[in-house]
């Protein structure tokens, strides 16, 4: 039986009717239309579904939606500003050609965002460690690592998220 819950997503409180066993990814995509969050493996192995919950990187494809109640969820849609102004990480991904097919990109950016909030100036090894749970089949990671390093050195991460 569906039940109403409130979720805080990208700074907005949303009321949704969910089955209690649903994953957060399913609710974000199918109920809230936030399709920037991708689903790829459904077992928490690839990181495409990564969102930030209370500032930490979380795989929303295996995260029960009920567990997200009362927490601050940020998705890729919440990272950019008004009029689609890009977050420094998004800008860095663009500038460094860290995007090919783009299916892993939202999850990758959200993992990087959590990483930079915890460690604003990571070494290359720390970036690689921080992104280890996000698979990309197109880029070979080099440009992604460069993008995250550039974002870290260019500006402080957005502490609000």
């Amino acid at each position: 039986m569906r039940r109403p819950i409130e979720l805080s997503v990208n700074g907005v409180t949303e009321e949704v009717y969910v089955e209690p066993w649903w994953t957060l990814a399913r609710v974000l995509r199918d109920e809230l239309g936030l399709t920037g969050t991708k689903v790829s493996c459904e077992t928490g192995d690839c990181g495409a579904c990564t969102v930030n919950i209370d500032g930490r990187a979380v795989r929303s494809c295996i995260y029960p939606v009920m567990k997200a109640v009362g927490k601050k969820i940020v998705t890729i849609e919440g990272l950019s500003g008004e009029d689609d102004s890009l977050h420094p990480l998004q800008q860095a991904f663009l500038d460094h050609f860290a995007v090919q097919c783009g299916y892993c990109t939202p999850g990758m950016v959200m993992s990087a965002n959590a990483l930079l909030q915890e460690n604003p100036h990571p070494t290359e090894a720390e970036i690689k460690e921080g992104l280890k749970g996000n698979l990309c089949r197109c880029t070979g990671y080099n440009k992604i690592i460069q993008a995250v390093a550039a974002a870290a050195s260019a500006s402080a991460p957005n502490k609000e998220n």
Binding site: V99, T105, L135, T139
Partner: protein, 792 residues
């Protein structure tokens, strides 16, 4: 070479901004929240080989919300296929691998569909199964997977099905050149070995998915997350439809690597039966089982050598396990022979056999035949070099042909940057200098190199339509695919260059079988060369029309008019650019405001240029495999790897991987470099981690991204240790000299790594992937033997 404003420059990637915002609509987003949507699910066979005795769908049909439960009796009787028609949409009598589709369901929710699939009751009579290709190949193999094979229709390459040596052999492809036996008899050295590669899969991040919308006029629109035409054409065949009865659409794909659409046949079938839209997204497990994965191959190589280091003969026998159905298999097998263009081989014999087994069906994957064979031949080149006492690089250089020579198949070598590439990577890895060894004595470091080529087939065509809009915007319609490699960016660069307009003035329309002009599709490393050329022709055509119309209107000669900058100008007055609207009917002096807003021209509805580029393939002799023009281009290149082998654990770590490839002309340096980096890392995955593991009953044991390991950031070199050089040896027929390069970077990686492992610890791994278990086993065997190649 001329300087260009857009071509050859790392301009912004046209699709990247929407992608970083999470706003790109992939096909997996199609149909979310669409009213009346049904969800499809497939029941797969749990047995590797069995007869379907009875199917009871009554419990499944009774599940609340279920709208259709379909089985083999609901699908067309005609078998379909890509090159051999050997398969039904749903199994009718026999299941031939664990995962063969038996039934499909459409329901109001995904949960109901899954529940219904669980409740379908199938009674099977188990049949003996066979998994090993060499055993299945035997003339007296007791298991015959397709008893009706001789009667199957072969729409293409029929000659590859003659004189087959066993009932499970569906393909035999031959290449013959010179007198191989005599050359072996006269050779100073003979080097033989056997190589093997396990099955791997694409692991594109966007799972296979599809939506089908039935239309009120009896047509249907099917969305695919795979290639447009490679999905559209088989659906027409399978369902007996005309092109105007089915509209196939796609978007930016979330990765490709050769994968072929899978759920579309089920969404279309279910939509036809229910009259409702149907959406299907495969689970990752279904991606592994139903995906047409890279085939498993055994390659026997025998080389004859002279003391001076020249290769006088090569014989290759390939035994290719294509699984239970062929799909692209025969073509993958045939195209493996393109590897031979890499070297000067005066005598050559190639026999490649395609074998049915009770394993999942195979298909194309980045490298399409080349990567599997090069895995064998580039290790073998190191064995050869040892046999003749030469340095592996020197040996390769000696046997590499030059432009102007004919390759083994008879195709003219037009441009070949192989030697330059080899020098670049060997210099960078300091070839000849021994690797620094770490303090821990159980870690051994070594270097290896490999050459590779990747063909682009000549027997394909592309077409492009270019519309010049009244505001000067150029609209390109093409039938290719942008799976992230950057095709739309490259086409935008070309059009902007051709018309001297900013890239913002170019827009791309693609991915719609009713709107996009014909294309073979994004495959065979062909899009830049074929679609790029077709676009340039379309630009020329549009410019000619504009010149003619403008000249007529202005009372001048065509030759007085120059086209570009969003309009046109008179040759002697380049400062005054006439807008395109100058030619519109609205601006006709006699219109006097009566056709205000009319954007059509007096003579036509608009400026529309068209262009077609066809590879003009030469015929292939079925007995010798010889043909004047079988490939249109080859991307040649080299890679050098430095690896560390832990002799206690068997773990191999790639310390450095350098790559140099000949692109003809690099259209976009950073995107090209990025694509190569991705190919190298996919190559590392195939070298060390990726491989299907089956149990003794043919069940795939690792169909997920946890047990089937794709490289993560922790597994690969980065920064300057993952390094790409792009060499430009212009292709005479390429747009701006460019040729395809998408697949090539993956082709030499596994051999370069294997050669580096040999250099580090003196063992030769001949089976992919080179897992710690296999490395340890080889080291153990070595402790019993001496530090030599088994084959020499």
């Amino acid at each position: 070479m001329a300087e260009f404003a857009y071509v050859g420059r790392s301009v912004p990637k046209v699709d990247a901004r929407a992608k970083v915002l999470g706003k790109t609509k992939f096909v997996s987003e199609e149909g979310i929240g669409f009213p009346g949507m049904l969800y499809g699910k497939v029941l797969f066979s749990p047995h590797a080989h069995a007869r379907i005795v009875k199917i009871d769908t009554s419990k499944a049909a009774a599940v609340r919300g279920v709208r259709a439960v379909l089985t083999g009796k609901d699908v067309p009787e005609t078998r379909v296929g890509m090159l051999i028609d050997d398969r039904h949409i749903l199994c009718r009598e026999i299941v031939r691998f664990v995962g063969d589709p038996v039934a499909c369901v459409a329901a109001e929710s995904e949960d109901a569909a899954a529940e219904a699939v669980r409740l379908i009751e199938v009674e099977y009579e188990i049949l003996p199964a066979i998994f090993d290709a060499e055993a299945a190949m035997a003339p007296d193999c007791p298991v015959v997977i397709h008893p009706d094979l001789p009667a199957y229709n072969r729409p293409l390459y029929a000659y590859m099905g003659k004189d087959l040596p066993g009932p499970n052999v569906h393909t035999h492809h031959k290449v013959r050149k010179g007198d191989v036996d005599r050359a072996f008899a006269e050779a100073d050295f003979i080097v033989e070995n056997r190589y093997e590669c396990d099955r791997i899969t694409h692991c594109q991040m966007e799972p296979y998915n599809s939506v089908c919308y039935p239309q009120t006029d009896g047509t249907a629109t099917v969305w695919t997350s795979a290639r447009l035409h490679e999905t559209h054409d088989p659906l027409l065949q399978a369902f007996g439809l005309n092109p105007s009865q089915l509209r196939t659409r796609t978007s930016y794909q979330g990765g490709m690597f050769g994968m072929i659409g899978r759920p579309e046949r089920f969404t279309l079938l279910l939509a036809q039966k229910t009259g409702r839209p149907v959406k299907m997204v495969y689970t990752r497990e279904e991606n592994f089982i139903e995906g047409l994965n890279r085939l498993a191959e055994i390659v026997y190589v025998k080389d004859g050598l002279k003391k001076d280091g020249t290769i006088v003969a090569r014989e290759i026998k390939g035994i290719v396990n294509t699984g239970a159905y062929t799909h692209h298999g025969p073509l993958v097998i045939r195209n493996g022979a393109f590897h031979a263009s890499q070297y000067r081989l005066p005598n050559y014999r190639w026999d490649a056999y395609g074998i049915y087994t009770n394993t999942p069906a195979c298909g194309p994957l980045r490298g399409f035949g080349s990567a599997e064979v090069i895995w064998a031949t580039e290790q073998h080149m190191d064995l050869d070099a040892r046999a003749v006492g030469m340095d592996p690089i020197e040996f390769r250089l000696l046997n590499t042909p030059d432009a102007g020579e004919r390759d083994v198949r008879g195709t003219l070598v037009t441009c070949i940057g192989a030697k330059r590439c080899l020098k670049i990577v060997s210099d960078r890895i300091e070839w000849g200098e021994p690797s620094d060894q770490p303090a821990e004595s159980h870690i051994k470091v070594g270097k290896g190199i490999a050459l590779a080529n990747k063909y682009s087939m000549a027997d394909t065509a592309s077409s492009v339509i270019l519309d010049m809009k009244p505001d000067g915007v150029l609209e390109i319609s093409h039938g290719g695919d942008d799976c992230g490699q950057g095709l739309n960016t490259v086409l935008t660069q070309i059009a902007a260059e051709q018309f001297s307009v900013p890239m913002e003035m170019v827009r791309i329309v693609w991915g719609d079988s009713w709107r996009s002009p014909y294309d073979f599709g994004t495959a065979s490393s062909r899009s830049t060369l074929y679609i790029g050329n077709a676009l340039i022709k379309a630009c020329d055509d549009a410019k000619r029309q504009i010149r003619e119309l403008a000249a007529k209107k202005l009372g001048m000669d065509d030759g007085d008019i120059e086209v570009g900058k969003g309009g046109f100008w008179l040759r002697d007055n380049p400062e005054k650019v006439f807008p395109m609207s100058f030619l519109s009917l609205a601006n006709h002096p006699e219109a006097r405001g009566t056709v205000k807003g009319a954007t059509c021209l007096e003579e036509s509805a608009g400026i529309r240029g068209t262009g077609v580029f066809w590879g003009h393939p030469g015929a292939e002799d079925p007995e010798t495999g010889q043909g004047e023009r079988l490939a249109i281009s080859y991307s040649y290149g080299a890679q050098a790897a430095e690896v560390a082998v832990d002799t206690e654990t068997g773990v191999v770590k790639i310390l450095r991987l350098y790559s140099a490839f000949d692109t003809g002309k690099t259209m976009h340096p950073t995107m090209c470099e990025a694509q190569h980096e991705g190919g190298m890392v996919q190559g590392i995955g195939s070298a060390l981690y990726e491989g299907f593991i089956f149990d003794e009953a043919g069940v795939l044991m690792n169909p997920n991204l946890h047990d089937y390991k794709v490289c993560s950031t922790g597994d690969v070199p980065s920064g300057d240790d993952l390094w790409v050089a792009l060499v430009e040896d212009p292709h005479p027929e390429g747009p701006y000299g460019a040729k395809g390069t998408g697949e090539s970077a993956m082709c030499p990686t596994a051999s370069a790594v294997a050669n580096a492992i040999y250099n580090a610890v003196g063992v030769r791994l001949t089976q992919l992937p080179m897992t710690p278990e296999r490395v340890l086993a080889a080291l153990k065997e070595q402790r019993g033997d001496s530090r030599t190649d088994a084959a020499t």
